[in-house]
Subunit: 121 residues, 2 copies
DNA sequence: TTGGCCGGTTACTTAAAGGTAACAGGTTAC
DNA sequence: GTAACCTGTTACCTTTAAGTAACCGGCCAA
Protein backbone atom coordinates (compact mmCIF):
# COMPACT_ATOMS: atom_id res chain seq x y z
CA UNK A 1 0.00 0.00 0.00
CA UNK A 2 1.17 3.46 -0.83
CA UNK A 3 1.15 5.86 2.03
CA UNK A 4 0.36 9.48 1.68
CA UNK A 5 3.97 10.55 1.82
CA UNK A 6 4.75 9.36 -1.66
CA UNK A 7 1.66 10.88 -3.20
CA UNK A 8 1.31 14.11 -1.38
CA UNK A 9 2.89 16.31 -3.89
CA UNK A 10 0.61 15.23 -6.70
CA UNK A 11 -2.61 16.00 -4.94
CA UNK A 12 -4.60 19.09 -5.66
CA UNK A 13 -8.10 18.25 -4.50
CA UNK A 14 -8.54 18.28 -0.72
CA UNK A 15 -11.15 15.56 -0.87
CA UNK A 16 -8.91 13.30 -2.90
CA UNK A 17 -6.09 14.13 -0.53
CA UNK A 18 -7.98 13.05 2.49
CA UNK A 19 -9.30 9.93 0.83
CA UNK A 20 -5.69 8.86 0.42
CA UNK A 21 -5.50 8.72 4.18
CA UNK A 22 -8.87 7.49 5.32
CA UNK A 23 -10.17 5.85 2.18
CA UNK A 24 -10.97 2.20 2.24
CA UNK A 25 -13.66 0.10 3.78
CA UNK A 26 -12.42 0.06 7.35
CA UNK A 27 -10.21 3.02 8.18
CA UNK A 28 -12.95 5.44 9.14
CA UNK A 29 -14.52 2.77 11.31
CA UNK A 30 -11.22 2.07 13.05
CA UNK A 31 -10.60 5.75 13.66
CA UNK A 32 -14.14 6.14 14.92
CA UNK A 33 -13.57 3.26 17.28
CA UNK A 34 -10.47 4.93 18.69
CA UNK A 35 -11.80 8.46 18.77
CA UNK A 36 -12.27 8.72 22.51
CA UNK A 37 -9.84 6.24 24.03
CA UNK A 38 -6.84 4.09 23.38
CA UNK A 39 -7.68 0.49 22.75
CA UNK A 40 -6.01 -2.87 22.58
CA UNK A 41 -5.86 -4.85 19.39
CA UNK A 42 -8.32 -7.42 20.65
CA UNK A 43 -10.72 -4.74 21.77
CA UNK A 44 -10.85 -3.15 18.36
CA UNK A 45 -11.27 -6.52 16.77
CA UNK A 46 -14.15 -7.38 19.07
CA UNK A 47 -15.88 -4.11 18.33
CA UNK A 48 -15.62 -4.54 14.59
CA UNK A 49 -16.42 -8.22 14.26
CA UNK A 50 -16.68 -8.23 10.49
CA UNK A 51 -13.13 -7.03 10.17
CA UNK A 52 -10.58 -9.84 10.05
CA UNK A 53 -7.47 -9.62 12.17
CA UNK A 54 -5.31 -9.71 9.10
CA UNK A 55 -6.95 -6.68 7.56
CA UNK A 56 -7.08 -4.92 10.90
CA UNK A 57 -3.32 -5.37 11.28
CA UNK A 58 -2.76 -4.00 7.80
CA UNK A 59 -4.97 -1.00 8.28
CA UNK A 60 -3.51 -0.14 11.67
CA UNK A 61 -0.05 -0.28 10.18
CA UNK A 62 -1.01 2.09 7.40
CA UNK A 63 -2.72 4.47 9.78
CA UNK A 64 0.39 4.46 11.92
CA UNK A 65 2.61 5.11 8.91
CA UNK A 66 0.41 8.02 7.98
CA UNK A 67 0.74 9.47 11.45
CA UNK A 68 -2.87 9.12 12.48
CA UNK A 69 -2.28 6.79 15.40
CA UNK A 70 0.46 5.36 17.56
CA UNK A 71 1.15 1.76 18.42
CA UNK A 72 2.52 0.91 21.84
CA UNK A 73 3.70 -2.59 22.46
CA UNK A 74 4.15 -4.03 25.96
CA UNK A 75 6.54 -6.91 26.21
CA UNK A 76 4.41 -9.00 28.44
CA UNK A 77 3.10 -12.51 28.28
CA UNK A 78 0.55 -12.65 26.81
CA UNK A 79 1.41 -9.66 24.66
CA UNK A 80 -0.43 -6.40 24.85
CA UNK A 81 -0.57 -3.69 22.22
CA UNK A 82 -2.38 -0.41 22.51
CA UNK A 83 -3.42 1.90 19.73
CA UNK A 84 -4.15 5.54 20.27
CA UNK A 85 -4.91 8.46 18.01
CA UNK A 86 -2.24 11.08 17.51
CA UNK A 87 -3.11 14.76 17.49
CA UNK A 88 -3.46 14.48 13.74
CA UNK A 89 -5.77 11.54 14.17
CA UNK A 90 -7.81 13.40 16.75
CA UNK A 91 -8.14 16.31 14.39
CA UNK A 92 -10.31 14.08 12.24
CA UNK A 93 -12.99 14.17 14.90
CA UNK A 94 -15.17 16.76 13.15
CA UNK A 95 -15.17 14.70 9.98
CA UNK A 96 -16.07 11.52 11.80
CA UNK A 97 -18.68 13.29 13.89
CA UNK A 98 -20.39 14.63 10.80
CA UNK A 99 -20.26 11.21 9.23
CA UNK A 100 -21.74 9.64 12.31
CA UNK A 101 -24.46 12.25 12.51
CA UNK A 102 -25.39 11.85 8.89
CA UNK A 103 -25.41 8.09 9.15
CA UNK A 104 -27.70 8.17 12.14
CA UNK A 105 -30.07 10.75 10.76
CA UNK A 106 -30.32 9.50 7.22
CA UNK A 107 -29.81 5.78 7.33
CA UNK A 108 -30.09 4.29 10.77
CA UNK A 109 -33.14 6.21 11.90
CA UNK A 110 -34.95 6.91 8.69
CA UNK A 111 -35.44 3.68 6.85
CA UNK A 112 -38.29 1.27 7.26
CA UNK A 113 -36.29 -0.48 9.92
CA UNK A 114 -36.34 -0.37 13.68
CA UNK A 115 -32.64 -0.86 13.71
CA UNK A 116 -30.99 0.04 16.95
CA UNK A 117 -27.80 1.94 16.35
CA UNK A 118 -24.91 -0.05 17.71
CA UNK A 119 -21.81 1.99 17.71
CA UNK A 120 -18.33 0.62 17.89
CA UNK A 121 -17.65 2.71 20.90
CA UNK B 1 -23.12 -3.20 -7.61
CA UNK B 2 -25.08 -3.36 -4.42
CA UNK B 3 -26.90 -0.21 -3.55
CA UNK B 4 -27.69 0.85 -0.06
CA UNK B 5 -31.32 -0.10 -0.35
CA UNK B 6 -30.56 -3.79 -0.22
CA UNK B 7 -28.14 -3.52 2.68
CA UNK B 8 -29.73 -0.97 4.89
CA UNK B 9 -31.32 -3.35 7.28
CA UNK B 10 -28.08 -5.10 8.15
CA UNK B 11 -26.20 -2.01 9.20
CA UNK B 12 -25.68 -1.04 12.79
CA UNK B 13 -22.70 1.31 12.75
CA UNK B 14 -23.44 4.77 11.36
CA UNK B 15 -19.99 5.11 9.87
CA UNK B 16 -20.27 1.80 8.09
CA UNK B 17 -23.73 2.81 6.96
CA UNK B 18 -22.56 5.97 5.38
CA UNK B 19 -19.58 4.32 3.76
CA UNK B 20 -22.04 2.11 1.92
CA UNK B 21 -23.26 5.24 0.21
CA UNK B 22 -20.21 7.36 -0.31
CA UNK B 23 -17.46 4.79 -0.02
CA UNK B 24 -15.19 4.29 -2.96
CA UNK B 25 -12.49 6.24 -4.59
CA UNK B 26 -14.58 8.75 -6.46
CA UNK B 27 -18.00 9.26 -4.94
CA UNK B 28 -17.02 11.91 -2.42
CA UNK B 29 -15.16 13.78 -5.12
CA UNK B 30 -18.17 13.66 -7.43
CA UNK B 31 -20.50 14.87 -4.72
CA UNK B 32 -18.04 17.59 -3.82
CA UNK B 33 -17.95 18.64 -7.45
CA UNK B 34 -21.74 18.93 -7.53
CA UNK B 35 -22.16 20.49 -4.11
CA UNK B 36 -23.03 23.98 -5.25
CA UNK B 37 -24.43 23.59 -8.74
CA UNK B 38 -25.82 21.18 -11.24
CA UNK B 39 -23.33 20.09 -13.83
CA UNK B 40 -23.22 18.34 -17.16
CA UNK B 41 -21.52 15.01 -17.60
CA UNK B 42 -18.68 16.54 -19.56
CA UNK B 43 -18.19 19.24 -16.98
CA UNK B 44 -17.76 16.75 -14.18
CA UNK B 45 -15.44 14.72 -16.33
CA UNK B 46 -13.31 17.73 -17.09
CA UNK B 47 -13.10 18.68 -13.43
CA UNK B 48 -12.01 15.20 -12.40
CA UNK B 49 -9.60 14.33 -15.19
CA UNK B 50 -8.25 11.17 -13.60
CA UNK B 51 -11.69 9.65 -13.51
CA UNK B 52 -12.57 7.70 -16.66
CA UNK B 53 -15.94 8.24 -18.30
CA UNK B 54 -16.84 4.62 -17.76
CA UNK B 55 -16.31 4.80 -14.03
CA UNK B 56 -17.96 8.20 -13.85
CA UNK B 57 -21.06 6.78 -15.52
CA UNK B 58 -21.12 3.88 -13.09
CA UNK B 59 -20.68 6.02 -10.04
CA UNK B 60 -23.30 8.53 -11.13
CA UNK B 61 -25.76 5.71 -11.69
CA UNK B 62 -25.15 4.34 -8.22
CA UNK B 63 -25.45 7.74 -6.63
CA UNK B 64 -28.73 8.23 -8.46
CA UNK B 65 -30.00 4.83 -7.33
CA UNK B 66 -29.12 5.73 -3.78
CA UNK B 67 -31.08 8.95 -4.05
CA UNK B 68 -28.17 11.33 -3.68
CA UNK B 69 -28.53 12.99 -7.05
CA UNK B 70 -30.84 13.30 -9.99
CA UNK B 71 -30.12 12.83 -13.65
CA UNK B 72 -31.92 14.94 -16.18
CA UNK B 73 -31.53 14.04 -19.80
CA UNK B 74 -32.30 16.49 -22.61
CA UNK B 75 -33.13 14.90 -25.92
CA UNK B 76 -31.07 17.25 -27.99
CA UNK B 77 -28.38 16.76 -30.53
CA UNK B 78 -25.74 16.54 -29.31
CA UNK B 79 -27.12 15.12 -26.09
CA UNK B 80 -27.06 16.96 -22.81
CA UNK B 81 -27.36 15.44 -19.37
CA UNK B 82 -27.38 17.33 -16.12
CA UNK B 83 -26.68 15.98 -12.68
CA UNK B 84 -27.85 17.70 -9.55
CA UNK B 85 -27.82 16.83 -5.88
CA UNK B 86 -31.09 15.91 -4.24
CA UNK B 87 -31.97 17.19 -0.80
CA UNK B 88 -30.42 14.04 0.61
CA UNK B 89 -27.30 14.68 -1.40
CA UNK B 90 -27.16 18.27 -0.23
CA UNK B 91 -27.46 17.11 3.35
CA UNK B 92 -23.99 15.64 2.95
CA UNK B 93 -22.57 19.14 2.75
CA UNK B 94 -21.35 19.26 6.37
CA UNK B 95 -19.48 16.00 5.89
CA UNK B 96 -17.86 17.16 2.68
CA UNK B 97 -17.08 20.55 4.13
CA UNK B 98 -15.28 19.00 7.07
CA UNK B 99 -13.40 16.70 4.73
CA UNK B 100 -12.39 19.61 2.55
CA UNK B 101 -11.32 21.64 5.55
CA UNK B 102 -9.27 18.82 6.97
CA UNK B 103 -7.67 18.09 3.64
CA UNK B 104 -6.66 21.70 3.16
CA UNK B 105 -5.38 22.22 6.68
CA UNK B 106 -3.55 18.96 7.13
CA UNK B 107 -2.36 17.88 3.73
CA UNK B 108 -2.49 20.59 1.14
CA UNK B 109 -1.06 23.31 3.33
CA UNK B 110 1.22 21.18 5.49
CA UNK B 111 2.75 18.81 3.01
CA UNK B 112 5.48 17.59 5.34
CA UNK B 113 3.75 17.42 8.67
CA UNK B 114 1.94 14.12 8.46
CA UNK B 115 5.17 12.19 8.13
CA UNK B 116 7.46 14.40 10.08
CA UNK B 117 9.39 11.39 11.29
CA UNK B 118 10.71 10.83 7.80
CA UNK B 119 11.77 14.37 7.32
CA UNK B 120 15.48 15.09 7.24
CA UNK B 121 15.37 18.54 8.78
C1' DT C 1 0.51 -33.00 26.76
C1' DT C 2 -2.76 -30.22 25.52
C1' DG C 3 -4.84 -26.10 24.93
C1' DG C 4 -5.68 -21.20 25.88
C1' DC C 5 -3.98 -16.57 25.97
C1' DC C 6 -2.75 -12.38 22.50
C1' DG C 7 -1.29 -10.16 18.55
C1' DG C 8 0.09 -11.08 14.98
C1' DT C 9 2.22 -13.42 10.06
C1' DT C 10 2.01 -16.22 5.93
C1' DA C 11 0.10 -18.33 1.89
C1' DC C 12 -3.58 -18.66 -0.86
C1' DT C 13 -7.95 -17.37 -3.04
C1' DT C 14 -11.82 -14.54 -4.32
C1' DA C 15 -14.36 -10.35 -5.07
C1' DA C 16 -14.48 -5.72 -6.27
C1' DA C 17 -12.85 -1.75 -8.31
C1' DG C 18 -10.93 0.47 -11.78
C1' DG C 19 -8.65 1.14 -16.30
C1' DT C 20 -8.20 1.21 -21.73
C1' DA C 21 -9.84 1.25 -26.15
C1' DA C 22 -13.22 0.93 -29.53
C1' DC C 23 -17.74 1.92 -30.99
C1' DA C 24 -22.68 3.91 -31.15
C1' DG C 25 -26.06 7.47 -32.55
C1' DG C 26 -28.26 11.76 -34.98
C1' DT C 27 -27.20 16.15 -36.63
C1' DT C 28 -24.33 19.76 -38.26
C1' DA C 29 -20.00 21.90 -40.18
C1' DC C 30 -16.36 21.26 -43.42
C1' DG D 1 -18.52 11.63 -47.05
C1' DT D 2 -16.30 12.39 -43.15
C1' DA D 3 -15.35 14.29 -38.83
C1' DA D 4 -16.81 16.45 -34.61
C1' DC D 5 -20.12 17.04 -31.12
C1' DC D 6 -21.67 14.61 -26.36
C1' DT D 7 -22.87 10.94 -23.40
C1' DG D 8 -22.58 7.09 -23.00
C1' DT D 9 -21.98 1.39 -23.77
C1' DT D 10 -19.41 -2.79 -24.47
C1' DA D 11 -15.68 -6.02 -24.17
C1' DC D 12 -11.74 -7.03 -22.12
C1' DC D 13 -7.94 -6.79 -18.82
C1' DT D 14 -5.20 -5.38 -14.59
C1' DT D 15 -4.81 -3.98 -10.02
C1' DT D 16 -6.23 -3.73 -5.39
C1' DA D 17 -8.75 -4.88 -1.40
C1' DA D 18 -10.37 -8.15 1.30
C1' DG D 19 -11.39 -12.78 3.02
C1' DT D 20 -10.09 -17.67 4.90
C1' DA D 21 -7.37 -20.78 7.26
C1' DA D 22 -3.37 -22.31 9.28
C1' DC D 23 0.46 -21.30 11.99
C1' DC D 24 3.83 -18.69 15.28
C1' DG D 25 6.01 -17.63 20.21
C1' DG D 26 6.24 -18.01 25.16
C1' DC D 27 4.11 -18.71 29.38
C1' DC D 28 0.66 -20.84 32.33
C1' DA D 29 -3.01 -23.94 34.07
C1' DA D 30 -5.25 -28.56 33.92
Amino acid sequence: MVTIASKKREIKCPITAMLQLIGGKWKPVILYCLRSEKRRFGEISARIPDLSRKVLTEQLKELEEDGLLTRQQFNEIPPRVEYELTELGKSLAPVLNEMEKWGIENIIEKPNKANAAQSTD
